[in-house]
């Protein structure tokens, strides 16, 4: 199994999957909704945004 050449050729994919799994875990744990734009407006006294 370990010597299967396909495993070596797919190394880049397994690394990508690992990074994505890590990203998904982080997003899920911190409540970050990825690729979400505009539905939530934020205002703070020190940054951009508008005060309603």
């Amino acid at each position: 199994m370990i010597n299967n050449p396909n495993i070596k050729r797919l190394g880049w994919y397994y690394i990508l999957a690992l990074l994505l799994a890590g990203g998904m875990t982080y997003a899920n744990y911190t409540g970050w909704r990825i690729f979400s734009f505009g539905s939530q407006q934020t205002w703070s006294s020190s940054g951009p945004g508008y005060h309603k």
Partner: protein, 634 residues
Amino acid sequence: MSLTLHTCPSCSSVLTFRSRDTNLIVCHQCGNRLQRWDDGVLKEKPLMVKAQDTLTPIQIGTTGVWHGKKFTVIGRVRCLFEEDYANNWSIYFEDGTLHTLVDCYGQLAVYEKIPPDPKMPYFKVSGLGFGDGFLESIDNKWYILERKNTCKSIEVEGETWVFDWNGEFTSLEMASEGGDRLELLNLENQVYLNFRIHYLAFEDFNFQQLRQLQIGKVTKTYTCTHCNKPGELKSFPLSQSWNCKHCGAALSYVDGRVKFRRRMKHDKSPAIPLYAKGVLKGIEYEMIGFAVKQDAHGWSWREYTLFNPVRGYAFLSEYNGHWIFLRETAVAPVMRKSQSDWLEYGTDEFQLYNGYHFNISDAYGEFPGDVFKHDNIGCKEFICPPELWARELHPNGLCWYHGESISRNELYAAFGQEVSLPYQSGIGAIQPVRGVVDPAFLRISIIGVVLIFLFVFLIGNVFLRNEVVFENTWYLEDTLTSHKVVTSKFKLDKSRANLLVTLQAPVVNNWFEANITLVNADNGTEYTIEEGVEYYSGYEGGESWSEGSTETDEFIQYLPKGTYFMEIMATKPVGSSPAYYTIEAKYDVAMWRNFFIFVLMAIIPGLGAFLYARNREKIRWENSAFSPYSTNDE
């Protein structure tokens, strides 16, 4: 070891028989050939020919190891068949046993005498076609017939066991799926002998005291029967056919004489020059033959014959600039069904890539066997890149060749940068393509990744709180069109988390909206979302319909910990609906949207790799009449 001493009746030299199983000795002094009878009497055999051929690395005195037992070569019987020959070396072991080591064109095997199998008598085996039909042995294995050869004469050397004094016999070689191989001999007077064949690689014998052979040495000179000009051969008597470099005559060595077959055009030059030397797969070869082969459809390819006097022949096959290194081997796949479009060897499955009959349309140099005698040799090629098995059906049986893809860089490294290799186009039959993964393996990997993502996501959800931190219902008067409220404070104590705000209002053919601002009481940061519900229903054409929902929710994402409250500005039209509305805030909630987006991001590159691999494989199979892609795309 028990020695038996005799005296040569011709020159009175002392003759030593080391083995009790040998029955012939050639006097080392005068060359007299003497048969030893069972009673120990020696009888001269003047008609027996003494073997003179020295184009073999093995000689009398060579030692080796087989099955952990050391042996010494003490003699040989050289069998001359119609187009080739084999050396049957008598090998004597330290425990007194005698076996035969057969050396044939670089392939080596130990022949172990066994009792005949009553379920596979000679006459039944002889009736089989080559690779067509099978017989079952006494130990329930099925065997096919692979080769049949007729020996015309024998030559002898040293102390040996002669199994047929006539020198004329027929041999049948059988093979079983498990790799067992048997040889059946039909000798004079209806005598049959059976042997179990044990093929081994040259290195495995650990030979010592081999004959020193030199690459590039001329082994025979000849006079062309067509133009009467002289020529030289480098691998005679292994080569039995060659081409005159002066007039292009294709010549064969038949019954001790040079025979003219036909003339070659000589309009194609080899990319690797004739007699170029180079090291491939760790063995030094000399390129001694070049042939252009053509099938019935006019497709042609080039084949280069390489020779090493110790290791025998190898071949380079070139088509569209793609190269394959091939060696003939008897340790090959055994196909019970000759018409099968696949075969299994080891752990690999080989697919049928090509099936054709070929002729030689042009040639330079020399070749093993009589390549100019037979037309329309049938060949099938099975591929599992970067390897290939080629199965040729000759008049005397099956020949298997194992091929490996070889790169242009390897050829340049072997033969030098001066060779002019043809331009590459397309993808070769067994050319390894960088980055291409087996589609079935890729499919399993993608499914595995998705399942792992699901597992990780579900495990992560176990640690989420799903906690309701605020919930309240407000009742509305009919005349009100807006409603503003500030909620009580609630604490969010995770470093970062989300808040799912759900609005529920029982609207009936109406709408309701709420603008919700979540305010961090510690630092004044505000997060604003807008939520709205609308629900309509009716009865039309005998059927009721509805549209919309009375509930909606929205995430406020990535909130830092702190104390929060909400400012709600709700609006509705004048009327009784809705009579009330409810806001619920749930903290630290799983977001399935994230899961699906990440899975999609994982699938897309895998899908890209799959499509890339499929595209490259389609190109590979473009030159095959058995492409698995032609029917899928219809």
